[in-house]
Symmetry: C2
Subunit: 341 residues, 2 copies
């Protein structure tokens, strides 16, 4: 029997518009009128809303409704956007989704104040959820994991700086285990939280919570692998930011780069590492690295790994009663994986 795949992009759009409305409501709470444009900027820049869709679909898969999960789903997507505002300050990034970043548009002080306000909009969403206490616990744990992921990401950067702390703790070598630890914290933890929170909003059992965590973790790692591929090999216009951003930002913490390095000739490897350690890589240097990386097997190794994770994630869906929603979750995880091609 052939099943037509539901149009997951349409589902993302429908869920996205409800989540966007809720996020703006949560952000407006306790914000002066003059501050709205500052706090709205990041979420109004758009986004695929994959994380809140996971919360809502897991809530529905457990037997709950969109309404049950809406506040938590918005809190999850606000958490993602909170981390983006901060990442852009830390990475000195000027553009995201083809728009100036919050700090670039409003200055450092107001971006910091906006991010601080985001955290309380997240709390607002948590407090409006059906089971606020376990959700508050998950959000608190997850944000600390995001912090640790970002800390490692900074310490994996290869540009020596003028800060004693960073220089003392910098990773001069990053192995795949370090990398997996970093992306687990930085990306998979929040995706796992998105899934688990959905089950909790529907009052699901510990067993279903654990299945959702399992799905989220694997899908989250696959998501980051896809992101690493996109960062280097996407079409720039579609990406909404500079191609090779990880190279410009001196980041050794990209799966493609880590897999490619041992496969390169000594000369090419030295070239790549030297560019990563130079203060301002030029566009032609970055393009040359991308070309070198493309010639290796790295991309197919990483894609294969992502595919295995996606297949394993799907198995965790069997535990859920509502098979219509699990089918949508299957499409969503396929979408996460396929967007890297």
């Amino acid at each position: 029997m052939v099943t037509l795949l539901p149009d997951i992009l349409q589902v993302l759009r429908t869920i996205g518009s409800r989540v966007d409305e809720k996020m703006l409501e949560l952000l407006a709470e306790g914000a002066a009128k003059d501050f709205h444009e500052v706090v709205f900027h990041q979420v109004q820049a758009g986004g695929k809303r994959i994380r809140p869709a996971l919360s809502i679909l897991f809530c529905e898969a457990t037997g709950g409704s969109l309404e049950d999960a809406l506040s938590s789903a918005a809190a999850i997507e606000l958490t993602h956007n909170y981390s983006l505002i901060l990442d852009d300050i830390i990475d000195d990034a000027n553009v995201r989704r083809n728009l100036p970043t919050t700090w670039k548009k409003f200055g450092l002080s107001f971006a910091i104040l906006a991010s601080t306000h985001y955290r309380e909009a997240i709390e607002e969403g948590v407090l409006q959820s059906p089971n606020p206490l376990p959700i508050a616990r998950i959000i608190a744990d997850t944000i600390r994991e995001l912090v640790e992921g970002e800390r490692l990401d900074v310490l994996f950067e290869q540009l020596p700086g003028d800060q004693d702390y960073a220089d003392k703790h910098r990773y001069h070598d990053v192995n795949l285990e370090d990398y997996e630890s970093m992306i687990g914290y930085k990306t998979a933890a929040l995706i796992r939280a998105a899934c688990e929170v959905g089950v909790i909003c529907a009052g699901g059992s510990k067993e279903l919570q654990s299945a959702a965590r399992n799905f989220g973790w694997k899908a989250g790692i696959a998501f980051q692998l896809a992101d690493d591929i996109l960062d280097l090999f996407a079409e720039e216009a579609k990406l909404g930011k500079k191609l090779g951003k990880d190279i410009y930002e001196h980041k050794l913490g990209n799966a493609i780069i880590l897999h490619a390095i041992p496969l390169l000739s000594d000369t090419d490897r030295s070239f790549v590492l030297n560019v990563l350690r130079s203060p301002e890589p030029t566009e032609s240097e970055v393009m040359k690295i991308i070309k070198l990386l493309k010639q290796t097997e790295a991309s197919s190794i990483v894609q294969k790994q992502a595919k295995q994770l996606v297949d394993a994630a799907k198995k965790a869906l069997k535990a859920f009663p509502n098979q219509k929603s699990t089918q949508l979750l299957t499409s969503l995880v396929d979408f996460i994986y396929q967007r890297s091609f």
Copy 2:
């Protein structure tokens, strides 16, 4: 009958050491070992611990114990320290309590990550409290008020910058009403929260919560007035930071300056405003302003206002059953007021 005033400094020390221990425990939770020195720096720089003492004394005044209030008291003091890390970034401040500020010592990226981690240590304290949900609500509201207070404080600065948003919304004139709104958000809101949270930890009635809020608000405004006096007229060594910091930071939002301006001659007023608007005020300019301000009545006007608030705050204490603790609260509010002499 003469009652010996209890030694409030001794009480602050005793409470402070318990709160310090609890804060470090909350900060260590979910922080990598290498990150401890970064997150501990701000709280280990010390502080009078007035806010957690208010929480604990209000808990005791309501009939609860130190243990009942400890997690919340630590969360309140962490909230204060969270705001200090962020203020120091926003104000570009290098020194606090005679030590380098967190961003100065560890760099901007790690200071931002540390502050983000602080917010989750606060959440941890809230979740360990006897009545977590109402306390989570108060903390979320209060942090948004802190953000708004800081936003106004920045917009009251008189140095034109290169940011469209700040330039568009800057206050070219700050009146006493604007000022009171700013310090209400920036200082009094958290002190009010400290008091209210103490009552909630003891399971106190709505009436007692409201009395504590009333006390906290008035004591909080008095506290900021005392701080404004100290910023300009304290002994620098005792202050632990530069005398006249508000002037160096172009701040019109200081009660002494606002009260003095209409009392100055036209020439002196122009001088003061010009220095506040100059990119880098020199030490001799700042000292001259302090001398001009000292010659006005501003200091005695502000001290009188603080005294009235302190007297009104004390009246709110009558509602509480445990008079031993309310006596300590009386001493504490006197201490807050008197440290400005």
